[in-house]
């Protein structure tokens, strides 16, 4: 019996199990998952990973008087004992009240539409050839390229979700991602350039990336000879990719209601109605807009995808919920409960997160800046609650309103609340960055989309890399 048949046949069975065991608890959900994927990793042009994998598994979640039981399995034979175990565990720990925001039960089958070729129909050899092609491009840029890496993965997932409330959702999608890095070295100076892209639409989205890929290696080589920026507080202009990173990493995670619910200080900071930014600032998250890495029809609790406005005219108006956080905070569920795979329970996660396009022509963002920094793309970042530090992928000085000399080692640091308040102008451009893999609670690499326009922000702490000597 192949897996498609296995899931098809399991449909009736999981419903029967929900009917039989559901009355013993307040809520019971069975999630079955099958996935097929490819993983390729080339370092220095040599294949370190080359694999095709097929997996089937599932998990059971039961809630009884506010207590949760969870059990996961990787063969369908274990399904019934896992239901029993999860129900028993929930009954053991539940001593309070189950508060799950209601959603309408639904029975539906949906497939996220592809606009081009399904990556599962492309041979492993052709995917590897594509990786080799990009690795050659990276290596060929300059003799100072010390090493390169190219990573490819795709996965086709089908998820069946049945609940004791009568929901039965059969949902499927394909997701793919490629990551490129080149490191250039000249004596003791080491510089890296990176590019990442992804798609839920077509294998063709990963082809014809030559210019983008070469750009990563060119930036690494060019940076070898650039001066470090002088550390100071500057007015900065950031490109849409950095805007997307900022809105996701610095702001978005604080909008996840489970973070706030567990941290009273954060819940206080994130009070609805509080002003965070200028009138022109609009921030959204939602899986409902189609065609991005964080797009889907239903989340892993069966809540329909929505678009949630988080900031309206500079004021906090919403946050992201699972059914439980919405129930506990008396708000509407937003369809943001997601799990990486069947090994994990769903958490409140972002989907596609974006700052809406503004009205300032991009060139005007630079006007009047006597001495500032223009930063594009990013290499790495660190966050700690409301604090963030991001390293720009490339940067230039702005002098007297014009782009001036390129500089390197540009890190942008700040407090997210202060930085949102310091947004001075919002560009009239917009770009969806489909590269995002989000990490939370050990569930790393969850596909997300990030979008935004260029932004002008005043008084950002820019660190030149005061390179510490070798210990």
């Amino acid at each position: 019996m192949d897996m498609v048949e296995a899931i098809d046949q399991a449909k009736t069975w999981v419903q029967e199990l929900c009917d039989r065991w559901g009355p013993r608890v307040d809520y019971l959900a069975i999630r079955l998952e099958q996935s097929e994927g490819t993983d390729i990793f080339l370092r220095g042009g040599q294949a370190e990973t080359l694999s095709e994998a097929i997996a089937i598994g599932g998990h059971v979640r039961a809630c009884y008087r506010g207590g949760w039981g969870f059990a996961s399995f990787n063969d369908l034979e274990s399904l019934a004992p896992c239901v029993e175990a999860a129900v028993a565990a929930a009954r053991l720990v539940g001593h309070d009240e189950t508060l799950l925001a209601p959603v309408d039960p639904i029975q539906i089958t949906r497939q996220l539409p592809l606009t081009g070729t399904n990556p599962r129909q492309i041979s492993l050899a052709r995917k590897k050839a594509l990786c080799n092609h990009y690795a050659d491009l990276l290596q060929g840029i300059d003799h100072r390229i010390a090493t390169t890496s190219v990573r490819y993965n795709d996965v086709a997932q089908r998820v069946l979700l049945a609940t004791s409330e009568g929901t039965l959702i059969d949902q499927a999608w394909s997701d793919m991602e490629m990551r490129f890095a080149a490191t250039a070295r000249d004596g003791d100076t080491v510089q890296t350039g990176r590019e990442t892209t992804g798609s839920r639409k077509a294998y063709e989205d990963l082809e014809n990336l030559d210019d983008q890929v070469m750009g990563a290696a060119q930036r690494a080589v060019a940076a070898l000879d650039l001066p470090s920026v002088r550390g100071a507080a500057y007015d900065v202009v950031i490109d849409p990719i950095l805007t997307g990173l900022f809105v996701h990493e610095a702001f978005g995670h604080l909008s996840e209601a489970d973070m706030a619910y567990e941290n009273p200080d954060l819940l206080e900071s994130m009070s609805l109605g509080r002003r965070f930014g200028p009138d022109s600032l609009q921030i959204f998250d939602g899986a409902a807009p189609q065609g991005h890495r964080g797009s889907y029809f239903y989340d892993d609790e069966g809540t329909p995808a929505t678009t949630t406005q988080l900031i309206e005219n500079g004021v906090l108006v919403g946050r992201l919920h699972s059914r439980e956080t919405a129930g506990k905070l008396g708000e509407q569920p937003t369809g943001n409960a997601r799990c990486l795979n069947y090994h994990y329970s769903p958490l409140v996660r972002m989907t596609n997160t974006w700052i809406e396009r503004g009205t300032t022509p991009v060139d005007d963002l630079f006007a009047d800046i006597k001495e500032g920094v223009y930063a594009r793309n990013w290499l790495e970042g660190m966050t700690n609650g409301e604090m963030f530090t991001f390293t720009a992928g490339e940067a230039w000085m702005i002098r007297n309103g014009k782009l001036a000399e390129p500089v390197r080692d540009v890190t942008l640091s700040g407090n997210v609340f202060r930085t949102l308040a310091d947004i001075e102008a919002i560009g009239d451009d917009f770009y969806w960055d489909e590269s995002g893999g989000c990490g939370k609670g050990g569930q790393n690499g969850l596909p997300v989309g990030c979008g935004g326009p260029s932004l002008r922000i005043r008084n950002v702490v820019v660190g030149g890399e005061a390179e510490a000597e070798y210990e």
């Binding site: 790495e380 640091s413 990490g439 690499g445 702490v461 210990e471």
Partner: protein, 167 residues
């Protein structure tokens, strides 16, 4: 850490003991100071105070003094360092070694252990190029490592450490 203070030695001994108890007979292996972690892209190595390897050690060109795959690194800070301040406008990045080690693809967690106060800052890899950070301070708290499932009570990390000693 080259010339160690007595307190650094105590912290190192305590960490070694704690980590070895947690990691013994698991897939993780704890290695003490002296093992060189090789950074091939930089053509140099570093010498962490304590490190953990998952599975078998990977060696650069088969050379057994050039380890490539630490998943956890501990750095015992040698002197008083600017404390993390939630009001400050930047995150601490007090070590050149951490900056260099962030390029190690296997590295999941990097810990700074202070010796002048009971304080541990843990950076964990949340995404490929994005690090999150948690801080534990005070002898009553517990450091939970992002991997290896180790729980390190601060009381045990700082056992016999005398904070009144001058650094």
């Amino acid at each position: 850490m080259s010339d160690s203070s007595v307190n650094q030695g105590r912290i190192l001994r305590n960490l070694m003991r704690l980590m070895d108890v947690t990691c013994g007979r698991s897939l993780y292996e704890v290695l003490p100071r002296g093992v060189q972690v090789w950074l091939p892209e930089q053509g140099k190595g570093v010498y962490p105070d304590l490190l953990v390897v998952a599975g078998e050690p990977l060696l650069h060109d088969g050379q057994d003094d050039k380890l490539l795959n630490p998943c956890v690194i501990f750095e015992i800070l040698s002197g008083p360092t600017p404390s993390y301040n939630p009001e400050a406008s930047t995150l601490p990045d007090s070590s050149g070694m951490f900056r260099r080690c962030r390029a190690i693809p296997y590295l999941q967690t990097y810990l700074f252990v202070h010796q002048t106060e009971a304080r541990v800052e843990q950076f964990y890899r949340a995404e490929e190029n994005l690090w999150g950070m948690t801080t534990q301070s005070g002898l009553d708290s517990v450091v939970e490592l992002a991997i290896t499932d180790a729980r390190l009570p601060m009381m045990d990390i700082y056992e016999r450490v005398d904070f009144s000693l001058l650094v």
